[in-house]
Protein backbone atom coordinates (compact mmCIF):
# COMPACT_ATOMS: atom_id res chain seq x y z
CA UNK A 1 0.00 0.00 0.00
CA UNK A 2 1.33 3.40 -0.94
CA UNK A 3 2.03 5.85 1.84
CA UNK A 4 -0.32 8.81 1.83
CA UNK A 5 1.71 11.92 1.10
CA UNK A 6 -0.06 14.88 2.69
CA UNK A 7 -0.67 17.70 0.25
CA UNK A 8 1.07 20.89 1.34
CA UNK A 9 -1.15 23.65 2.61
CA UNK A 10 -1.91 26.18 -0.12
CA UNK A 11 -2.73 29.89 0.01
CA UNK A 12 -4.44 32.59 -2.06
CA UNK A 13 -1.91 35.45 -2.37
CA UNK A 14 -4.68 38.06 -2.29
CA UNK A 15 -5.09 37.48 1.43
CA UNK A 16 -1.44 38.25 2.12
CA UNK A 17 -1.75 41.27 -0.17
CA UNK A 18 -4.73 42.62 1.74
CA UNK A 19 -3.14 42.06 5.15
CA UNK A 20 0.11 43.77 4.12
CA UNK A 21 -1.81 46.71 2.65
CA UNK A 22 -3.90 47.17 5.78
CA UNK A 23 -0.79 47.06 7.95
CA UNK A 24 0.77 49.82 5.83
CA UNK A 25 -2.42 51.86 5.91
CA UNK A 26 -2.44 51.70 9.70
CA UNK A 27 1.00 53.23 9.91
CA UNK A 28 0.74 55.73 7.04
CA UNK A 29 -2.32 57.88 6.26
CA UNK A 30 -1.09 58.38 2.72
CA UNK A 31 -1.83 54.78 1.75
CA UNK A 32 -5.09 54.56 -0.21
CA UNK A 33 -6.71 51.91 -2.38
CA UNK A 34 -8.39 52.67 -5.71
CA UNK A 35 -10.58 50.11 -7.44
CA UNK A 36 -13.20 49.57 -10.13
CA UNK A 37 -16.15 47.98 -8.37
CA UNK A 38 -13.67 45.28 -7.36
CA UNK A 39 -13.72 45.61 -3.58
CA UNK A 40 -14.51 41.92 -3.15
CA UNK A 41 -12.44 40.47 -5.98
CA UNK A 42 -9.43 42.55 -4.94
CA UNK A 43 -9.89 41.41 -1.31
CA UNK A 44 -10.36 45.00 -0.15
CA UNK A 45 -13.43 44.40 2.02
CA UNK A 46 -11.48 44.56 5.28
CA UNK A 47 -9.55 47.61 4.06
CA UNK A 48 -12.81 49.36 3.23
CA UNK A 49 -14.25 48.51 6.63
CA UNK A 50 -11.28 49.96 8.47
CA UNK A 51 -10.58 52.89 6.12
CA UNK A 52 -13.85 53.72 4.37
CA UNK A 53 -12.65 57.13 3.16
CA UNK A 54 -9.41 55.74 1.83
CA UNK A 55 -11.02 53.15 -0.42
CA UNK A 56 -11.81 55.00 -3.63
CA UNK A 57 -14.12 52.96 -5.81
CA UNK A 58 -14.47 54.84 -9.09
CA UNK A 59 -16.95 52.35 -10.48
CA UNK A 60 -16.55 50.28 -13.62
CA UNK A 61 -14.20 52.75 -15.25
CA UNK A 62 -10.65 51.49 -15.54
CA UNK A 63 -9.19 54.41 -17.47
CA UNK A 64 -10.52 56.82 -14.86
CA UNK A 65 -9.29 54.48 -12.12
CA UNK A 66 -5.67 54.65 -13.23
CA UNK A 67 -5.84 58.39 -13.93
CA UNK A 68 -7.34 58.97 -10.47
CA UNK A 69 -4.46 56.94 -9.04
CA UNK A 70 -1.97 59.25 -10.74
CA UNK A 71 -3.88 62.28 -9.47
CA UNK A 72 -3.83 60.93 -5.91
CA UNK A 73 -0.08 60.48 -6.20
CA UNK A 74 0.13 64.06 -7.47
CA UNK A 75 -1.74 65.06 -4.32
CA UNK A 76 0.71 63.31 -1.99
CA UNK A 77 -0.97 59.94 -1.49
CA UNK A 78 0.37 56.45 -2.20
CA UNK A 79 -2.36 54.75 -4.22
CA UNK A 80 -2.63 51.00 -4.63
CA UNK A 81 -4.77 50.69 -7.77
CA UNK A 82 -6.45 47.30 -7.69
CA UNK A 83 -8.34 45.65 -10.50
CA UNK A 84 -8.57 42.36 -12.31
CA UNK A 85 -5.34 42.29 -14.26
CA UNK A 86 -6.85 41.90 -17.76
CA UNK A 87 -8.79 45.14 -17.36
CA UNK A 88 -6.14 47.07 -15.45
CA UNK A 89 -3.52 46.34 -18.07
CA UNK A 90 -5.67 46.01 -21.19
CA UNK A 91 -8.30 48.70 -20.83
CA UNK A 92 -6.02 51.24 -19.18
CA UNK A 93 -2.73 50.45 -20.88
CA UNK A 94 -2.28 54.03 -22.11
CA UNK A 95 -3.01 55.37 -18.62
CA UNK A 96 -0.45 52.95 -17.20
CA UNK A 97 2.08 54.20 -19.73
CA UNK A 98 1.36 57.92 -19.74
CA UNK A 99 -0.25 58.74 -16.38
CA UNK A 100 1.88 56.45 -14.22
CA UNK A 101 5.13 55.46 -15.95
CA UNK A 102 5.89 58.54 -18.04
CA UNK A 103 4.82 60.90 -15.27
CA UNK A 104 6.89 58.91 -12.83
CA UNK A 105 4.11 58.94 -10.24
CA UNK A 106 4.37 56.59 -7.29
CA UNK A 107 1.37 54.46 -8.16
CA UNK A 108 1.25 50.77 -7.26
CA UNK A 109 -0.72 48.95 -9.93
CA UNK A 110 -2.07 45.71 -8.52
CA UNK A 111 -3.14 43.26 -11.21
CA UNK A 112 -5.39 40.86 -9.39
CA UNK A 113 -6.17 37.34 -10.59
CA UNK A 114 -3.79 37.48 -13.54
CA UNK A 115 -2.78 34.85 -16.06
CA UNK A 116 -5.31 32.04 -16.33
CA UNK A 117 -6.77 32.63 -12.87
CA UNK A 118 -10.26 33.21 -14.25
CA UNK A 119 -10.14 29.78 -15.94
CA UNK A 120 -13.61 29.00 -17.23
CA UNK A 121 -14.52 32.67 -17.74
CA UNK A 122 -12.40 32.53 -20.85
CA UNK A 123 -9.86 34.57 -22.78
CA UNK A 124 -11.58 37.94 -22.24
CA UNK A 125 -10.83 37.51 -18.53
CA UNK A 126 -7.41 35.92 -18.85
CA UNK A 127 -4.46 38.24 -18.39
CA UNK A 128 -1.81 36.45 -20.38
CA UNK A 129 -0.62 39.52 -22.29
CA UNK A 130 0.18 41.67 -19.25
CA UNK A 131 3.85 40.75 -18.90
CA UNK A 132 4.53 41.42 -22.59
CA UNK A 133 2.68 44.74 -22.58
CA UNK A 134 4.17 46.01 -19.35
CA UNK A 135 7.74 44.94 -20.12
CA UNK A 136 7.53 47.27 -23.10
CA UNK A 137 6.71 50.28 -20.93
CA UNK A 138 9.69 52.29 -19.76
CA UNK A 139 10.16 53.25 -16.11
CA UNK A 140 7.74 50.67 -14.73
CA UNK A 141 8.81 47.89 -12.35
CA UNK A 142 7.04 44.58 -12.97
CA UNK A 143 6.85 42.17 -10.05
CA UNK A 144 5.32 38.69 -9.89
CA UNK A 145 5.29 37.27 -6.36
CA UNK A 146 5.23 33.50 -6.06
CA UNK A 147 3.58 32.97 -2.70
CA UNK A 148 1.99 34.83 0.21
CA UNK A 149 5.27 35.70 1.86
CA UNK A 150 6.70 37.19 -1.35
CA UNK A 151 3.42 38.99 -1.96
CA UNK A 152 3.52 40.71 1.43
CA UNK A 153 7.19 41.59 0.97
CA UNK A 154 6.50 42.98 -2.52
CA UNK A 155 3.66 45.14 -1.20
CA UNK A 156 5.96 46.62 1.44
CA UNK A 157 8.68 47.14 -1.15
CA UNK A 158 6.30 48.89 -3.60
CA UNK A 159 5.14 51.19 -0.80
CA UNK A 160 8.69 52.36 -0.30
CA UNK A 161 9.80 52.38 -3.93
CA UNK A 162 8.69 55.95 -4.79
CA UNK A 163 8.20 55.12 -8.48
CA UNK A 164 5.49 53.30 -10.44
CA UNK A 165 5.27 49.55 -10.17
CA UNK A 166 3.02 46.67 -11.16
CA UNK A 167 2.35 43.74 -8.83
CA UNK A 168 0.78 40.59 -10.26
CA UNK A 169 -1.30 39.10 -7.45
CA UNK A 170 -2.79 35.67 -8.06
CA UNK A 171 -5.81 33.97 -6.60
CA UNK A 172 -4.67 30.48 -7.65
CA UNK A 173 -3.72 28.74 -4.44
CA UNK A 174 -0.05 27.89 -4.02
CA UNK A 175 2.13 26.48 -1.26
CA UNK A 176 4.77 28.56 0.47
CA UNK A 177 7.90 28.42 -1.69
CA UNK A 178 9.82 31.07 0.24
CA UNK A 179 10.40 28.91 3.31
CA UNK A 180 14.05 28.97 4.23
CA UNK A 181 14.82 31.94 1.96
CA UNK A 182 16.76 34.68 3.73
CA UNK A 183 14.83 37.33 1.80
CA UNK A 184 11.50 36.28 0.31
CA UNK A 185 11.52 39.15 -2.16
CA UNK A 186 14.36 41.38 -3.23
CA UNK A 187 13.80 43.96 -5.99
CA UNK A 188 15.75 43.11 -9.11
CA UNK A 189 17.07 39.88 -7.60
CA UNK A 190 16.24 36.32 -8.52
CA UNK A 191 15.79 33.66 -5.86
CA UNK A 192 17.58 30.41 -6.60
CA UNK A 193 15.12 28.13 -4.86
CA UNK A 194 16.93 24.90 -5.80
CA UNK A 195 20.50 24.37 -6.89
CA UNK A 196 21.30 22.28 -9.94
CA UNK A 197 23.95 21.59 -12.61
CA UNK A 198 22.32 20.26 -15.78
CA UNK A 199 19.53 22.67 -16.61
CA UNK A 200 17.89 25.74 -15.11
CA UNK A 201 14.15 26.21 -14.82
CA UNK A 202 13.44 29.95 -14.69
CA UNK A 203 9.91 30.59 -13.62
CA UNK A 204 7.70 33.02 -11.79
CA UNK A 205 4.49 33.39 -9.80
CA UNK A 206 2.26 30.41 -9.20
CA UNK A 207 4.37 28.16 -11.43
CA UNK A 208 7.41 28.14 -9.13
CA UNK A 209 5.89 25.32 -7.13
CA UNK A 210 5.30 23.27 -10.30
CA UNK A 211 8.90 23.80 -11.40
CA UNK A 212 10.09 22.57 -8.00
CA UNK A 213 7.95 19.47 -8.39
CA UNK A 214 9.37 18.92 -11.88
CA UNK A 215 12.90 19.25 -10.49
CA UNK A 216 12.13 16.37 -8.11
CA UNK A 217 11.06 14.20 -11.04
CA UNK A 218 14.09 15.25 -13.08
CA UNK A 219 16.38 14.31 -10.18
CA UNK A 220 14.86 10.83 -10.27
CA UNK A 221 15.84 10.72 -13.95
CA UNK A 222 19.38 11.78 -13.11
CA UNK A 223 18.99 15.38 -14.29
CA UNK A 224 20.01 18.02 -11.77
CA UNK A 225 17.75 21.04 -12.30
CA UNK A 226 18.35 24.47 -10.86
CA UNK A 227 15.14 26.38 -10.15
CA UNK A 228 15.04 30.16 -10.19
CA UNK A 229 12.06 32.13 -8.93
CA UNK A 230 12.22 35.30 -11.06
CA UNK A 231 9.79 37.47 -9.15
CA UNK A 232 11.34 40.68 -10.46
CA UNK A 233 10.55 40.66 -14.19
CA UNK A 234 11.54 44.32 -14.67
CA UNK A 235 14.30 44.89 -13.80
CA UNK A 236 15.44 41.33 -14.34
CA UNK A 237 18.41 39.74 -12.60
CA UNK A 238 20.79 39.37 -15.54
CA UNK A 239 23.59 38.00 -13.36
CA UNK A 240 21.45 35.08 -12.24
CA UNK A 241 20.48 34.32 -15.84
CA UNK A 242 24.07 34.50 -17.09
CA UNK A 243 25.24 32.27 -14.24
CA UNK A 244 22.50 29.77 -15.07
CA UNK A 245 23.54 29.74 -18.74
CA UNK A 246 27.22 29.34 -17.92
CA UNK A 247 26.84 26.80 -15.16
CA UNK A 248 23.97 24.61 -16.39
CA UNK A 249 24.16 25.11 -20.17
CA UNK A 250 20.41 24.88 -20.77
CA UNK A 251 17.40 26.95 -19.73
CA UNK A 252 13.68 26.32 -19.69
CA UNK A 253 11.43 29.26 -18.89
CA UNK A 254 7.97 28.62 -17.48
CA UNK A 255 5.35 31.35 -17.24
CA UNK A 256 1.60 31.79 -17.02
CA UNK A 257 1.61 34.30 -19.87
CA UNK A 258 2.05 34.62 -23.61
CA UNK A 259 5.50 33.43 -24.53
CA UNK A 260 5.82 36.42 -26.85
CA UNK A 261 7.39 39.17 -24.81
CA UNK A 262 7.08 37.79 -21.30
CA UNK A 263 9.57 36.12 -18.96
CA UNK A 264 10.91 33.76 -21.64
CA UNK A 265 11.62 36.64 -23.98
CA UNK A 266 13.29 38.59 -21.19
CA UNK A 267 15.55 35.67 -20.32
CA UNK A 268 16.34 34.99 -23.98
CA UNK A 269 17.30 38.63 -24.48
CA UNK A 270 19.93 38.29 -21.77
CA UNK A 271 21.07 34.82 -22.86
CA UNK A 272 21.70 35.75 -26.50
CA UNK A 273 23.69 38.81 -25.51
CA UNK A 274 25.90 37.24 -22.88
CA UNK A 275 26.07 33.46 -23.11
CA UNK A 276 23.92 31.77 -25.76
CA UNK A 277 22.60 28.37 -24.71
CA UNK A 278 19.69 26.26 -25.86
CA UNK A 279 16.36 27.26 -24.39
CA UNK A 280 12.75 26.15 -24.32
CA UNK A 281 10.03 28.64 -23.46
CA UNK A 282 6.88 27.31 -21.87
CA UNK A 283 3.92 29.63 -21.62
CA UNK A 284 0.44 30.20 -22.90
CA UNK A 285 0.41 29.81 -26.67
CA UNK A 286 -2.80 31.70 -27.40
CA UNK A 287 -6.46 32.11 -26.49
CA UNK A 288 -7.41 29.28 -24.19
CA UNK A 289 -10.22 26.78 -24.59
CA UNK A 290 -12.78 26.37 -21.82
CA UNK A 291 -11.43 24.94 -18.61
CA UNK A 292 -10.43 25.58 -15.04
CA UNK A 293 -7.12 27.22 -14.22
CA UNK A 294 -5.71 23.88 -13.16
CA UNK A 295 -6.94 22.25 -16.35
CA UNK A 296 -5.56 24.99 -18.58
CA UNK A 297 -2.15 25.01 -16.92
CA UNK A 298 -1.92 21.27 -17.51
CA UNK A 299 -3.38 21.59 -21.00
CA UNK A 300 -0.65 24.03 -22.00
CA UNK A 301 2.12 21.93 -20.45
CA UNK A 302 2.66 24.35 -17.59
CA UNK A 303 2.72 21.34 -15.34
CA UNK A 304 5.12 19.04 -13.59
CA UNK A 305 4.93 16.58 -16.51
CA UNK A 306 5.06 19.32 -19.14
CA UNK A 307 8.18 20.86 -17.65
CA UNK A 308 9.87 17.45 -17.41
CA UNK A 309 9.01 16.75 -21.05
CA UNK A 310 10.45 20.11 -22.14
CA UNK A 311 13.70 19.45 -20.28
CA UNK A 312 13.99 15.97 -21.80
CA UNK A 313 13.40 17.44 -25.24
CA UNK A 314 16.00 20.12 -24.67
CA UNK A 315 18.60 17.79 -23.23
CA UNK A 316 17.84 14.97 -25.66
Amino acid sequence: MNAVVPKPQTFDCRQAFAEALIALARQDDRVVAVCNDSVGSSNLTAFQKEFPDRLINVGIAEQDMVGVGAGLANGGFIPFVCSASPFLTGRSLEQVKADCAYNGYHVVLCGMSPGLAYGELGPTHHSIEDLSWLRAISDLAVIVPADPEQTAEAVRWAYGYDKPSFLRISRFKVPDVSAGQSSPFSFGKANVVRQGRDVTLITTGILVTRALDAADDLAALGISARVINMSSIVPIDEAAIIAAARETGAIVTVEEAMVEGGLGAAVAQTVVRHHPVKMRMLGVPGFAPTGSTEFLLDHFGLSRAGIVAAVKDLKG
Binding site: D53, G59, G67, L72
Partner: protein, 288 residues
Amino acid sequence: MKPFDPEKSLAPADLAGLSPTERAAALATAAKSIRRSVVRMINAAQLGHIGGDLSVTDILTTLFGAVLKLDPAAPLWPERDRFILSKGHCAAALYSVLALRGFIEWDLLETFMQPLSRLNGHPNRRKVPGVEANTGPLGHGLPIAVGSAIAARLSGKNWRTFVVMGDGEMQEGSNWEAIMAAGHRKLDNLVAIVDRNRLQQGARTEDTNTLDPLTDKFAAFGWDTLEIDGHDHAALYELFTRAPSGKPLGVVANTTKGKGVSFIENRVEWHHKVPNAEQVALALKELA
Protein backbone atom coordinates in the same frame (compact mmCIF):
# COMPACT_ATOMS: atom_id res chain seq x y z
CA MET B 1 17.42 90.36 -33.42
CA LYS B 2 16.59 88.10 -30.51
CA PRO B 3 13.67 85.96 -31.54
CA PHE B 4 12.20 86.18 -28.07
CA ASP B 5 12.10 89.51 -26.33
CA PRO B 6 11.78 88.88 -22.61
CA GLU B 7 8.20 89.57 -21.71
CA LYS B 8 6.97 90.90 -18.43
CA SER B 9 6.10 88.51 -15.68
CA LEU B 10 2.67 88.37 -14.14
CA ALA B 11 1.32 86.80 -10.97
CA PRO B 12 -1.83 87.28 -8.90
CA ALA B 13 0.10 89.43 -6.40
CA ASP B 14 0.79 91.96 -9.17
CA LEU B 15 -2.92 92.43 -9.67
CA ALA B 16 -3.82 92.94 -6.01
CA GLY B 17 -5.73 96.15 -5.45
CA LEU B 18 -6.59 96.64 -9.11
CA SER B 19 -10.17 97.26 -10.14
CA PRO B 20 -11.81 94.52 -12.25
CA THR B 21 -11.36 96.70 -15.33
CA GLU B 22 -7.68 97.31 -14.61
CA ARG B 23 -7.16 93.62 -13.91
CA ALA B 24 -8.81 92.61 -17.18
CA ALA B 25 -6.67 95.15 -19.03
CA ALA B 26 -3.48 93.75 -17.50
CA LEU B 27 -4.54 90.22 -18.45
CA ALA B 28 -5.37 91.33 -21.99
CA THR B 29 -1.89 92.84 -22.35
CA ALA B 30 -0.29 89.68 -21.00
CA ALA B 31 -2.40 87.48 -23.28
CA LYS B 32 -1.14 89.40 -26.29
CA SER B 33 2.44 88.74 -25.32
CA ILE B 34 1.60 85.05 -24.80
CA ARG B 35 0.12 84.93 -28.30
CA ARG B 36 3.23 86.59 -29.74
CA SER B 37 5.34 84.08 -27.87
CA VAL B 38 3.32 81.19 -29.34
CA VAL B 39 3.80 82.51 -32.86
CA ARG B 40 7.53 82.96 -32.36
CA MET B 41 7.93 79.50 -30.81
CA ILE B 42 6.10 77.79 -33.64
CA ASN B 43 8.08 79.83 -36.16
CA ALA B 44 11.36 78.82 -34.53
CA ALA B 45 10.40 75.14 -34.23
CA GLN B 46 8.55 75.03 -37.55
CA LEU B 47 6.18 72.78 -35.64
CA GLY B 48 3.29 73.25 -33.24
CA HIS B 49 -0.46 73.52 -32.81
CA ILE B 50 -1.09 77.19 -33.42
CA GLY B 51 -4.88 77.13 -33.66
CA GLY B 52 -5.48 75.59 -30.25
CA ASP B 53 -2.65 77.54 -28.62
CA LEU B 54 -4.33 80.78 -29.63
CA SER B 55 -7.82 79.65 -28.59
CA VAL B 56 -6.72 78.63 -25.09
CA THR B 57 -4.42 81.59 -24.42
CA ASP B 58 -6.89 83.79 -22.53
CA ILE B 59 -7.96 80.91 -20.28
CA LEU B 60 -4.33 80.07 -19.44
CA THR B 61 -3.31 83.71 -18.99
CA THR B 62 -6.19 84.33 -16.59
CA LEU B 63 -5.42 81.20 -14.57
CA PHE B 64 -1.66 81.68 -14.33
CA GLY B 65 -1.68 85.46 -14.22
CA ALA B 66 -4.50 86.01 -11.78
CA VAL B 67 -5.90 82.90 -10.15
CA LEU B 68 -3.65 79.92 -9.42
CA LYS B 69 -1.94 79.76 -6.02
CA LEU B 70 1.54 78.68 -7.01
CA ASP B 71 5.11 79.25 -5.92
CA PRO B 72 7.59 79.20 -8.81
CA ALA B 73 10.39 78.96 -6.24
CA ALA B 74 8.82 75.77 -4.87
CA PRO B 75 7.02 74.15 -7.80
CA LEU B 76 6.00 71.11 -5.75
CA TRP B 77 4.69 73.10 -2.77
CA PRO B 78 2.18 70.53 -1.45
CA GLU B 79 -0.70 72.98 -1.08
CA ARG B 80 -0.40 74.59 -4.50
CA ASP B 81 -3.37 74.75 -6.81
CA ARG B 82 -3.12 72.13 -9.52
CA PHE B 83 -3.41 73.00 -13.17
CA ILE B 84 -3.51 70.28 -15.83
CA LEU B 85 -3.55 71.03 -19.54
CA SER B 86 -5.30 67.96 -20.85
CA LYS B 87 -4.97 69.24 -24.43
CA GLY B 88 -1.22 68.78 -24.12
CA HIS B 89 -0.60 69.55 -27.79
CA CYS B 90 -1.04 73.22 -26.86
CA ALA B 91 2.22 73.07 -24.96
CA ALA B 92 3.56 76.27 -26.56
CA ALA B 93 0.84 78.27 -24.82
CA LEU B 94 1.45 76.43 -21.56
CA TYR B 95 5.21 76.96 -21.66
CA SER B 96 4.60 80.64 -22.38
CA VAL B 97 2.38 81.14 -19.34
CA LEU B 98 4.86 79.15 -17.23
CA ALA B 99 7.46 81.71 -18.31
CA LEU B 100 5.01 84.53 -17.56
CA ARG B 101 4.54 83.18 -14.05
CA GLY B 102 8.30 82.65 -13.54
CA PHE B 103 8.53 78.85 -13.59
CA ILE B 104 10.90 78.85 -16.56
CA GLU B 105 13.05 81.47 -18.29
CA TRP B 106 11.66 83.19 -21.38
CA ASP B 107 14.87 82.27 -23.18
CA LEU B 108 14.10 78.58 -22.75
CA LEU B 109 11.14 79.01 -25.11
CA GLU B 110 13.60 79.39 -27.97
CA THR B 111 14.44 75.70 -27.59
CA PHE B 112 10.83 74.53 -28.11
CA MET B 113 10.98 71.10 -29.81
CA GLN B 114 14.67 71.46 -30.64
CA PRO B 115 16.74 68.27 -30.19
CA LEU B 116 17.11 67.41 -26.47
CA SER B 117 15.15 70.47 -25.37
CA ARG B 118 13.26 70.22 -22.10
CA LEU B 119 10.33 71.63 -24.03
CA ASN B 120 8.90 68.65 -25.87
CA GLY B 121 5.90 69.03 -28.16
CA HIS B 122 3.82 67.82 -25.22
CA PRO B 123 4.63 68.82 -21.63
CA ASN B 124 6.78 66.70 -19.30
CA ARG B 125 6.55 67.31 -15.57
CA ARG B 126 9.89 65.60 -15.01
CA LYS B 127 11.60 68.28 -17.10
CA VAL B 128 9.50 71.41 -16.75
CA PRO B 129 8.59 72.85 -13.33
CA GLY B 130 4.95 73.85 -13.10
CA VAL B 131 3.75 70.98 -15.26
CA GLU B 132 1.55 68.64 -13.21
CA ALA B 133 0.89 65.92 -15.76
CA ASN B 134 2.46 64.61 -18.94
CA THR B 135 -0.48 64.91 -21.26
CA GLY B 136 -0.76 64.41 -24.99
CA PRO B 137 -2.99 61.41 -25.56
CA LEU B 138 -6.45 62.93 -25.15
CA GLY B 139 -8.82 62.17 -22.32
CA HIS B 140 -6.13 61.80 -19.65
CA GLY B 141 -6.13 65.15 -17.87
CA LEU B 142 -9.55 65.06 -16.26
CA PRO B 143 -9.17 61.65 -14.54
CA ILE B 144 -5.85 62.82 -13.09
CA ALA B 145 -7.51 66.06 -11.99
CA VAL B 146 -10.27 64.08 -10.28
CA GLY B 147 -7.61 62.14 -8.36
CA SER B 148 -5.93 65.37 -7.35
CA ALA B 149 -9.25 66.83 -6.19
CA ILE B 150 -9.97 63.68 -4.15
CA ALA B 151 -6.48 64.01 -2.65
CA ALA B 152 -7.18 67.57 -1.52
CA ARG B 153 -10.41 66.50 0.11
CA LEU B 154 -8.86 63.43 1.78
CA SER B 155 -6.03 65.45 3.22
CA GLY B 156 -8.34 68.25 4.37
CA LYS B 157 -6.49 70.85 2.30
CA ASN B 158 -8.08 73.60 0.27
CA TRP B 159 -6.03 73.57 -2.89
CA ARG B 160 -8.14 73.64 -6.06
CA THR B 161 -7.65 71.67 -9.25
CA PHE B 162 -8.19 73.20 -12.68
CA VAL B 163 -8.09 71.22 -15.89
CA VAL B 164 -8.45 72.46 -19.47
CA MET B 165 -9.73 70.10 -22.13
CA GLY B 166 -10.15 70.61 -25.83
CA ASP B 167 -13.69 70.26 -27.09
CA GLY B 168 -12.81 67.52 -29.58
CA GLU B 169 -11.33 65.70 -26.62
CA MET B 170 -14.80 65.41 -25.11
CA GLN B 171 -15.31 62.54 -27.54
CA GLU B 172 -12.99 60.43 -25.36
CA GLY B 173 -14.89 58.04 -23.09
CA SER B 174 -12.40 58.41 -20.26
CA ASN B 175 -13.56 62.02 -19.78
CA TRP B 176 -17.10 60.86 -19.17
CA GLU B 177 -15.91 58.24 -16.68
CA ALA B 178 -14.20 61.04 -14.79
CA ILE B 179 -17.16 63.44 -15.11
CA MET B 180 -19.40 60.76 -13.63
CA ALA B 181 -17.01 60.11 -10.73
CA ALA B 182 -16.52 63.81 -9.97
CA GLY B 183 -20.26 64.48 -10.02
CA HIS B 184 -20.93 61.51 -7.78
CA ARG B 185 -18.32 62.72 -5.30
CA LYS B 186 -19.47 66.34 -5.49
CA LEU B 187 -15.89 67.52 -5.96
CA ASP B 188 -16.47 71.24 -5.68
CA ASN B 189 -12.72 71.86 -5.53
CA LEU B 190 -12.52 70.88 -9.20
CA VAL B 191 -12.99 73.17 -12.21
CA ALA B 192 -13.00 71.64 -15.70
CA ILE B 193 -12.81 74.06 -18.59
CA VAL B 194 -13.63 73.03 -22.14
CA ASP B 195 -11.88 75.15 -24.77
CA ARG B 196 -14.91 75.17 -27.05
CA ASN B 197 -13.44 76.33 -30.35
CA ARG B 198 -15.69 73.94 -32.28
CA LEU B 199 -12.87 72.62 -34.47
CA GLN B 200 -10.88 69.44 -34.08
CA GLN B 201 -7.89 68.32 -36.13
CA GLY B 202 -9.82 67.17 -39.15
CA ALA B 203 -13.20 68.86 -39.13
CA ARG B 204 -15.78 70.82 -37.15
CA THR B 205 -16.67 69.01 -33.93
CA GLU B 206 -20.35 69.05 -34.74
CA ASP B 207 -19.70 67.43 -38.11
CA THR B 208 -17.72 64.68 -36.39
CA ASN B 209 -19.62 63.82 -33.23
CA THR B 210 -22.26 66.18 -31.89
CA LEU B 211 -21.07 67.59 -28.58
CA ASP B 212 -23.85 70.12 -27.98
CA PRO B 213 -25.47 70.69 -25.62
CA LEU B 214 -22.31 70.32 -23.51
CA THR B 215 -23.57 72.22 -20.46
CA ASP B 216 -26.64 70.00 -20.30
CA LYS B 217 -24.36 66.98 -20.35
CA PHE B 218 -22.27 68.27 -17.45
CA ALA B 219 -25.44 69.12 -15.54
CA ALA B 220 -26.85 65.66 -16.14
CA PHE B 221 -23.74 64.23 -14.47
CA GLY B 222 -24.26 66.38 -11.38
CA TRP B 223 -22.04 69.35 -12.17
CA ASP B 224 -22.60 73.06 -11.95
CA THR B 225 -22.03 74.32 -15.42
CA LEU B 226 -22.22 77.38 -17.61
CA GLU B 227 -21.11 78.82 -20.90
CA ILE B 228 -18.83 81.78 -21.05
CA ASP B 229 -16.83 83.79 -23.56
CA GLY B 230 -13.44 82.12 -23.31
CA HIS B 231 -11.67 85.31 -24.36
CA ASP B 232 -13.32 87.54 -21.72
CA HIS B 233 -10.70 87.91 -18.98
CA ALA B 234 -13.04 89.58 -16.51
CA ALA B 235 -15.67 86.89 -16.86
CA LEU B 236 -13.09 84.09 -16.68
CA TYR B 237 -11.58 85.62 -13.55
CA GLU B 238 -14.95 85.99 -11.87
CA LEU B 239 -15.82 82.38 -12.62
CA PHE B 240 -12.47 80.92 -11.55
CA THR B 241 -12.56 82.74 -8.21
CA ARG B 242 -16.17 81.94 -7.42
CA ALA B 243 -16.86 80.27 -4.06
CA PRO B 244 -17.39 76.49 -4.20
CA SER B 245 -21.01 75.46 -4.68
CA GLY B 246 -21.05 71.88 -3.50
CA LYS B 247 -20.59 70.52 -7.02
CA PRO B 248 -17.71 70.41 -9.51
CA LEU B 249 -17.78 73.26 -12.00
CA GLY B 250 -17.81 72.57 -15.72
CA VAL B 251 -17.08 75.63 -17.83
CA VAL B 252 -17.79 75.61 -21.53
CA ALA B 253 -15.54 78.41 -22.70
CA ASN B 254 -16.60 79.48 -26.17
CA THR B 255 -13.48 80.40 -28.08
CA THR B 256 -12.21 81.04 -31.57
CA LYS B 257 -9.52 78.70 -32.79
CA GLY B 258 -6.58 80.83 -33.91
CA LYS B 259 -7.92 83.84 -31.95
CA GLY B 260 -6.08 87.10 -32.64
CA VAL B 261 -4.67 86.28 -36.06
CA SER B 262 -7.17 87.04 -38.79
CA PHE B 263 -6.07 84.50 -41.35
CA ILE B 264 -5.82 81.67 -38.80
CA GLU B 265 -9.08 82.28 -36.96
CA ASN B 266 -11.70 79.58 -37.22
CA ARG B 267 -10.01 77.65 -40.02
CA VAL B 268 -9.71 73.92 -39.59
CA GLU B 269 -6.52 73.71 -41.65
CA TRP B 270 -4.65 75.77 -39.05
CA HIS B 271 -4.81 73.03 -36.39
CA HIS B 272 -1.10 72.44 -36.75
CA LYS B 273 -0.11 74.32 -39.87
CA VAL B 274 3.07 76.37 -39.58
CA PRO B 275 2.98 79.97 -40.81
CA ASN B 276 5.57 81.07 -43.36
CA ALA B 277 7.85 84.07 -42.76
CA GLU B 278 5.42 86.52 -44.30
CA GLN B 279 2.53 85.11 -42.27
CA VAL B 280 4.61 85.28 -39.07
CA ALA B 281 5.31 88.95 -39.68
CA LEU B 282 1.65 89.63 -40.34
CA ALA B 283 0.58 87.64 -37.25
CA LEU B 284 3.02 89.50 -34.99
CA LYS B 285 1.78 92.78 -36.43
CA GLU B 286 -1.81 91.87 -35.64
CA LEU B 287 -0.77 90.85 -32.13
CA ALA B 288 1.34 93.94 -31.46
